[in-house]
Symmetry: C2
Subunit: 320 residues, 2 copies
């Protein structure tokens, strides 16, 4: 399915570069290679899953609906527009303003909900029923997982070209769509590379689920900086894949994510959003939990408000 | 010479991506394609010219010396270290601190001078004579121009793949090494693409030289934001090439460069330094001086201090 998705995505998503810099290697104490999915269309890997899912719809589909804090929204909206389908996106009212604006600019109808009090699944199901729309889930959808997995196919080839065949691959993890898709691709194409989910403190449902062997749920539901990866639990499809293929999860603080954003600014000249920087943060500040001479990280998205980015640069300067 | 340089550079510099975003196209009123040389090793295209020059040295070379505000410094230092040669870099004392620090981190010996009062050419010549070092000029050197021209070879292929065969190519211009090199490559590989130098207000020596037909000199010598491209005049080698192959020069304000940095942050998720953002600024804010349905710009570097980048994001927010 990942290979089939890659064929449908060809020419419609970017092969993102695998970047590195001596300054990052010095901080991490080992070679660091970052796959810059922030340079993907719509600013995150979600362009992959969105295109994979929309391009796999039946010819009779009347439109799509998605639940998203902003990145999946843009991935689905972009693909729907390209296929001439209407798109409704249900987003939390506290999603970053640029994500809401960009989703609308891509032609989608945005419906806002309260992340803390409303049941977004029920809200979306109601709209989908009333208007005959197909729901595209953000991670627990086989086509979405396959689409995200195309990043893993690219990574397997890029890591081999860089001479890295044995390494941990640190992956920002919300519901696990990217982590599961990349882990599947690596298992087939680069068995020496092992996926490891990375989450922010307080939203470590996947790390705890991998440790306990069953799906665990977060207490916190809102208010954290890493808005892209604040899902309450890993998915019913993604979790068994991660449990079979991934190493233990890693957890970083918000301060570490901000410092990783500043390091990516300084050394790689790229913009990462907080949720997109957690894997880099783990490589830089939790190296003792990583094995090998090299580590690969995915910088999964760059859709961050200017004010948040300015804060990351300011805090990092004060810490130096 | 450019093709020979490309062969020597293969595997040692990155093929940088050609990026685009609907949001930029909306601001510019035409399709905008940006070649992201800020993602190059050492954060700018200068990695190309530095490697081209150092890799072309005689086997008996005892070391290299360069004059640079920071980007050429890092390009030469990186190449010299790779070839096991000592490198001395003469830099202005007011160069951005990260550029000085990064040049030292690459193993070079940094000698600081006063941009306003000291003759840096004489200073460098004295050190070169005393220590038997080969001077690598920042732009008026055939191998350096050939190295920068490798970006033009990549661009010709990338533009064709994107379906753009007739367009202006806007290029940040200091002494003209990148502009001349890219113009030569385009003339051979993509004759419908025309190079056009872009400079900051007050440092428009190349625009005025192209208009008058002879080498003009700037009055101002220091104090401007676009530190990477503040040369007093185009080069004796680069100017005739630009006069033969390029269209008229474009000039942007510092405010426009800062707003272009913010636009690149928001829409492309890349970090541009002020001097590296002038071509994007011209595409966004001087579209009336550009011809065609599409415009190609080079984002030539991303080595900017965090405080300057924060200012760009803050000013842009206030302007919106």
């Amino acid at each position: 399915m990942i290979e089939a998705a890659a064929a449908r995505l060809a020419g419609h998503v970017r092969e993102t570069p695998l970047l590195s810099a001596p300054g990052l290697d010095r901080i991490a104490g080992r070679r660091v290679l970052l796959k810059a999915e922030c340079l993907q269309h719509v600013g995150s890997f979600k362009a992959r899953g969105g295109w994979a899912a929309v391009s796999a719809l039946d010819a009779g589909a009347r439109g799509v609906i998605a639940l998203s804090s902003g990145n999946h929204a843009q991935g689905v909206a972009r693909a729907a527009a390209a296929f001439g389908l209407p798109a409704v996106i249900v987003m939390p009212a506290d999603a970053p303003a640029p994500k809401i604006a960009n989703t609308r600019a891509l032609g989608a109808e945005v419906v806002l909900h309260d992340r803390a009090t409303e049941d977004r699944e029920a809200l979306a199901a109601g709209i989908a029923d009333a208007r005959g729309l197909t729901l595209i889930r953000p991670f627990d959808d086989p086509q979405v997982i396959a689409g995200q997995g195309t990043a893993g196919l690219e990574l397997a080839a890029q890591a081999a070209a860089a001479g890295v065949t044995q390494a941990d691959v640190l992956i920002p993890c919300g519901g696990g769509g990217l982590t599961a898709g990349v882990a599947l691709a690596l298992a087939a194409r680069a068995p020496g590379l092992r996926g490891r989910p990375v989450e922010p403190e307080g939203f470590d449902d996947t790390a705890r689920s991998l440790a306990s062997g069953r799906i665990e749920v977060n207490d916190a539901r809102a208010g954290a900086l890493c808005d892209a990866i604040l899902t309450p639990s890993p998915g019913r499809i993604t979790f068994p894949i991660m449990a079979r293929l991934c190493g233990p999860g890693l957890v970083v603080t918000e301060d570490e994510a901000l410092r990783a954003m500043a390091a990516a600014f300084e050394h790689l000249k790229i913009v990462l959003e907080p949720g997109g920087a957690v894997a880099l943060a783990a490589s830089l500040f939790h190296g003792d939990a990583v094995t090998g001479d090299a580590v690969i990280v995915i910088g999964s998205g760059g859709n961050v408000a200017a004010e948040t980015f300015r804060m990351a640069l300011r805090q990092s300067g004060e810490m130096q």
